[in-house]
Amino acid sequence: MATKILKSDVTRTKEGYLRVGWGSEEHAAMLGIRPAHEDDEIQHKGFALIDPTAFGPQATKIYLKESLRQQVEVLTGKPPKVLKNAPKMFIPTGGAAQGIV
């Protein structure tokens, strides 16, 4: 199995906010996962936990697998977007009475 290669993608916006690219190497690090190596015992979709021992010696295999799965689903999924049912920001327009609906 070929090891996945993630690209580095960190920029700063003009306001100074860090913008970490979705699915990037840095994003994977934030999630505590990395591309899997052949000898990684616990893998999911080509990814493995950066440090399975971080959860302690009592962590079960099923726990580690589930933790990995959750983070891989985020990393490999589409970036978040505004929900279809997201309400509009309330902006007073003046004139007629206006409620929060």
Binding site: R12, I62, A86, M89
Partner: protein, 376 residues
């Protein structure tokens, strides 16, 4: 109709005979059906007194009267869920309705540089502060009652009108604050900043850890690390049990496992009953503690001298100056205005917040982290 009454009378008579009813019951039967027949014809024979009929119907009438008039009462109203938003919103005051200006210092100054022997230090600089403006707006609703409605209110249905109006003011404010987080502009800004400010993950221990890591890596306008700790998680009502499980378990709750739950007790959950979402995609929002970190996620402004909602009544423009009942007779109490007798109440409050076409309602984006709750 009279034929039907006659048939009913015959049918009831047969029933009574079958039951062996005493003679007096048959007399009542004559009185009752005779009375109904008289009412239908409109011809008063003089032999069937209405009083007889009333006596026959007393038992049923009395029960009806008891049930409908004497035993009427209002049941207690529903209890309302509250959105206790205070910890995540910094309060501020404005002296009037004009926009007020605040400046945020989002950067320090330059690092020092090594200077060699007889070398001269290079000049340092300081970034401009970030200008923020907001203003307060009026929020009101008025109710008009006719005097008849209030006088006729023997159930005291309107007696808690003032309380409901005050409750509506609080509820509106809660909806207003809730909208800060979930509106399309705010969430659009956070999702555009990608992984450091948003995720897709449903609420689990692992995702809270990722959110904490994102906060821990926040930087100021110069890219220097800042203190930003995840303190509050505002969540959809559908996540109450999920949060409780995470908070109450000493072990990681998503699975039957024996791994220690390091997330437990490190955040304060706040349920937002106004957060829109459809299971299983239930959003959540992580925030810093502005009191500890000086990162203010949201701001709620009020006008000085107007700290909460007030209820007002329109002063009646009518005065009773005399009666036709004779000297010294007190005038009957009449309320409302001169023209219609109506009574007008109004509940009023004043508040506002920061509004930006770019950042939504976020006063400081560094204090926020959003999840659409869509990734399993």
């Amino acid at each position: 109709m009279r034929q039907i009454i006659l048939l009913l009378k015959g049918y009831r008579g047969a029933q009574l005979r079958r039951l062996g009813a005493p003679e007096v019951k048959f007399q009542e039967l004559d009185s009752f059906y005779g009375w109904v027949d008289t009412q239908l014809t409109g011809v008063k024979t003089g032999t069937l007194a209405v009083g007889h009929m009333a006596e026959v119907m007393t038992s049923a009438d009395f029960q009806y009267a008891l049930g409908e008039f004497l035993q009427r009462r209002m049941e207690p109203a529903y209890k309302r869920k509250r959105f206790n938003f205070e910890p995540i919103v910094k309060m501020d005051t404005a002296p009037n309705y004009s926009a007020v200006t605040r400046y945020q210092d989002r950067a320090g100054v330059d690092d020092l540089e090594y200077v060699g022997e007889k070398g001269e230090a290079s000049p340092g600089s300081r970034d401009d502060a970030i200008k923020k403006q907001w203003q307060v707006y009026k929020w009101q609703k008025q109710y008009e009652f006719s005097m008849e409605a209030l006088v006729n209110d023997d159930l005291a249905y309107f007696s808690d009108q003032a309380r409901l109006m005050a409750e509506a003011a609080r509820r509106t404010l809660e909806k207003y604050v809730s909208r800060f987080m979930w509106n399309a502009t705010t969430t659009g800004r956070l999702t555009a900043l990608l992984a450091m400010y948003s995720t897709t993950g449903r609420l689990t221990t692992a995702r809270i850890s990722a959110a904490r890591m994102a906060f821990n890596q926040r930087v100021d306008a110069r890219g220097e690390p800042i203190l930003a700790s995840l303190k509050y998680i505002v969540h959809h009502s559908g996540l109450v049990d999920t949060v409780a499980t995470i908070q109450n378990s000493t072990l990681v709750p998503e699975l039957a496992t024996n791994a220690v739950n390091v997330v437990r007790g490190t955040f304060t959950p706040i349920e937002d009953p106004f957060c829109a979402g459809t299971a299983p995609n239930l959003p959540w929002f992580a925030l810093t503690d502005y009191a500890a970190d000086n990162i203010v996620p949201f701001i709620l402004g009020r006008r000085a001298g107007m700290p909460g909602a007030v209820i007002a009544r329109k002063t009646p423009n009518m005065e009773i100056v005399g009666t036709m009942l004779g000297a010294g007779t007190p005038a009957p109490p009449l309320w409302g205005d001169f023209e219609t007798g109506n009574i007008v109440l109004k509940v009023m409050d004043e508040w506002g917040t920061f509004i930006s076409g770019t950042d939504g309602n976020m006063y400081d984006v560094n204090g926020c982290y959003y999840s659409s709750g869509t990734a399993p």
